[in-house]
């Protein structure tokens, strides 16, 4: 799996170029699949854009994006795992399953509980670390464990100019320089190609308990979830919806067995005023409700658009009322999944409630004017656009996935004009320069 000759820790010299002459990448029409970071940097520097980055190709959210496929899946392998320091580094193409299995072997896990998009989007393939980070794909534990962005300690990426850049590092606390790692996380392949990531991991709990209250309406459900999340019992999941056996409100506790037992009893007692609380039995026979919540199980294979709405929990009930159709609430009401008829502009209908809505699954052929990502206020949109222009001046990654047409937009006039990054001198620790410096520009 591991990409040969690429280990930077070993030596100072950039790895030798693999692959043929630069022109080769233009002749091949099929998806390109670099094996090393240097290889990828060269392809980005030389290819015409836009390049649609792909890890496992499992998270093709919303409307189709455009571009020639560039798969990062070949740049793979765990490069560091220190259970005693709660840190793991791996190349971006590493299958998530490989990482999760490695962690499980040491009694650890990815605490942010990455969502698997395959069931919802009807994709197949192998979810990768890079795709997970680029999508900031976070699950129900978000409220207590943070999102992917909170667990990324550092990463390396290739800019639109083919330069290799690193941000952050491998330690838990690091405020050295700007946090470009957070900017890259959740950038959906529109700023650069992530090549390696270091994550904070956490111990997996010894035991878990799920409490459920059946039959609450959204107002009562959010109230019960808020009460639970405002308690000292460390609730690590709070969801509401119909997972197949009628509407239930679910609350999760995790930790050492005696502690979970003790908190389960006390939380149940505290929630009694909200409705009849029962203990849900975790068994092999029943499907895991938290996996169903994480992956939006109720909407798998059901036709219609799927919206992902992030907002304050206290506004969830009003949002659900306006949606008026099937929903699944997570994050104590802070995240709503809604299934709607194709082409309905739910974003407009939820105006005034704050937060934002992403069209996670768009029905092919339905209203093409519906953007996948929410429009941003003008000032914020300008910052985002200018950042893209600085990370990717030639629009290599302008696939239209997050924002329509960034390709034509240059940096704002005035002020300092950046020198070409790819010609900035390299540090000893990485092959910071690839492509143009070696082969000359082709576009």
């Amino acid at each position: 799996m591991s990409a040969g000759g690429e280990d930077r820790r070993g030596g100072a010299a950039p790895p030798p170029a693999t692959g043929g002459p630069p022109g080769e990448y233009f002749r091949r029409e099929e998806m390109r699949r670099p094996e090393t970071e240097a290889d990828l940097a060269r392809m980005v520097a030389l290819d015409g854009g836009p390049l649609l980055l792909e890890g496992g190709g499992t998270r093709a959210v919303g409307r189709p994006a455009r571009g020639r496929g560039l798969s990062v899946a070949g740049i793979s392998g765990v490069t560091l795992y220190e259970p005693g320091a709660l840190t793991l580094s791996a190349r971006a193409g590493t299958p998530l399953a490989e990482i999760e299995a490695l962690l499980a072997g040491e009694g650890q896990r990815l605490a942010f509980e990455p969502m698997d998009h395959r069931g919802l989007l009807g994709t197949s393939g192998t979810p990768t670390l890079g795709g997970m980070v680029a999508a900031n794909a976070t699950g129900p534990r978000r409220m207590v464990a943070g999102a992917v962005r909170d667990a990324v300690l550092g990463l390396r990426f290739v800019t639109g100019e083919g330069a290799v850049v690193k941000s952050g590092g491998r330690v838990m606390k690091n405020v050295t320089g700007y946090d470009l790692a957070k900017l890259m996380t959740g950038s959906w392949g529109t700023l650069g190609a992530i090549t390696e990531v270091t994550l904070k991991v956490l111990p997996a709990p010894e035991a878990r308990a799920t409490l459920e209250i059946p039959g609450l309406d959204p107002v009562a459900a959010v109230a019960a979830m808020s009460a639970a999340l405002g308690s000292p019992f460390e609730v690590t999941g709070a969801a509401h919806g119909d997972l197949g056996q009628g509407v239930v409100t679910l609350l999760r506790l995790e930790g050492f067995a005696p502690s979970v037992e003790d908190r389960a009893v006390r939380l149940a007692r505290m929630l009694e005023p909200h409705g009849p609380v029962r203990r849900r039995l975790d068994g092999e026979a029943a499907p895991d409700p938290w996996v169903a919540v994480r992956d939006v199980g109720p909407f798998h294979g059901v036709p219609g658009d799927v919206w992902r709405i992030s907002l304050r929990p206290s506004r969830a009930a009003e949002a659900v009322a306006r949606i008026g159709g099937p929903v699944l609430l997570d994050w104590g009401g802070g995240l709503i999944w809604a299934l709607t008829e194709p082409g309905r502009d739910l974003r407009a209908e939820l105006a005034g409630l704050g937060g934002h809505a992403r069209l996670e699954r768009a029905t092919p052929g339905a209203d093409p004017a519906l953007a996948t990502f929410p429009p941003e206020p003008a000032a914020v949109a300008r910052l985002s656009r200018d950042l893209r222009a600085r990370f990717d001046p030639r629009g290599r990654f302008a696939t239209g996935r997050m924002e329509p047409d960034t390709a034509e937009q240059g940096p704002r006039p005035g002020g300092w004009r950046s020198p070409d990054l790819a010609t900035a001198d390299a540090k000893s620790d990485g092959p910071a320069v690839a492509g143009p410096a070696t082969f000359g520009r082709t576009t």
Partner: protein
Amino acid sequence: MDMPSPDAGALARRPALLAELAAVVARDALISDPVGLRAYECDALTAYACTPLAVVLPGSTGEVAAVLRICHAAGVPVVPRGAGTSLAGGALPTADCVVLGVARMTEVLEVDTADRLIRVQTGRTNLQVTAAVEEAGFFYAPDPSSQLACAIAGNIAMNSGGAHCLKYGVTANNLLGVTLVTMEGEVMEIGDGHLDAAGLDLLGLICGSEGQLGVVTEATLRILPQPEGARPVLMGFASAEAAGACVADIIRSGVLPVAIEFMDRPCIEACEAFSGAGYPDCEALLIVEVEGSEDEIAATLRRVLAVAAAHDPVATREAADADEAARIWLGRKSAFGAMGQLGDYICLDGTIPVSQLPLTLRRMSELAQARGLRVANVFHAGDGNMHPLILFDANTEGQLETAEALGADILRLCVEVGGCLTGEHGVGVEKRDLMTAQFSAGDLEMQMRVKDVFDPRWLLNPAKVFPLAASAARREAAA
């Protein structure tokens, strides 16, 4: 340490600038007399000081925007300031700058315990945020030791941490939204009460940007329910290696304490002499704090002690009640004061991978010996964030410089073993010129491009974070 020479033009335009500023803020909010300015000459990195052109202390976001528009039009640099407790010189003025302080903006704008958030003006101190939600049973988790004085503004700009961030994370993990005013005076809202960004994670970028991207005037912060209880255990070890190995084993065992603090012998002795906390006579000690219900605490501490037993602790002390807990923390909390009794010191802030702790401690004492100085260590061991204290005598000619050189040696060592230059205090001016030890020119170029986007003329806190040589062309293009 070098600072860019002041812009003569800005100095010459001072009278006109003062008149313009006076027109947009309250009368007592503009400080321009030498005595008044003195209080703003430096932050907690007191070795460096410089009198600014003026200080403004606006009372609202609108006034902040007006001040910034004036400075932008005049081409005058602005140094944002919270409470001035930065240990990195982040709030250090230049002679040609206006210091823009948010200390008068201290209001609580909203508390919502159902949504578990608070919205405040950023001049409010860290401790006063918790104070506003305490009665409702909540707290604001990031707790820098300076929390009595430091403002949320500085916490956001430095992405500050605290003793309890092993469990609760640092500022960035607890920040939901900000009101940001750009150097051009444009006001924008980034984030709100929801948990994730609509587009690019600009909030994550702004947090920790050291006042270089915009002035943060309001913030929405996550608040958490108070734990039922918390209790520490203290364990002494015969060697720093044993204590370091114990830290890794505790973490590996699946226990996630809220804090693991480490002190070495020089520090233990100083604290003992200063506070009489009754610490054991040993080479290194750990204070491990866990949270939960009484039963849970007892069970978790049993696990911690079982793990520690393999490392032959020379002493263990479990707090039976709040009084004993306070006594265990007493020495640790007075560590900086205690070190102050020993003479002058520089407090470093590098982070290392926990696995490199024994090696780093050994190499650090070799480096200190080579320069003829002493180093004491007290730090957050669970996350590898070290605070080596270099002891020196400021009255001895050349010792400050020697101590600074040793500091640079130690920070380079942190980078070399896989860590970084600063875990929570920020780069400021202090570590600015060491940035090339951690980042390539290309890495720094990308960071500077971010500043280009937010502040194209490089007027906001321009002489910080980046090596002066690296940022020179940009700063000069703006002038």
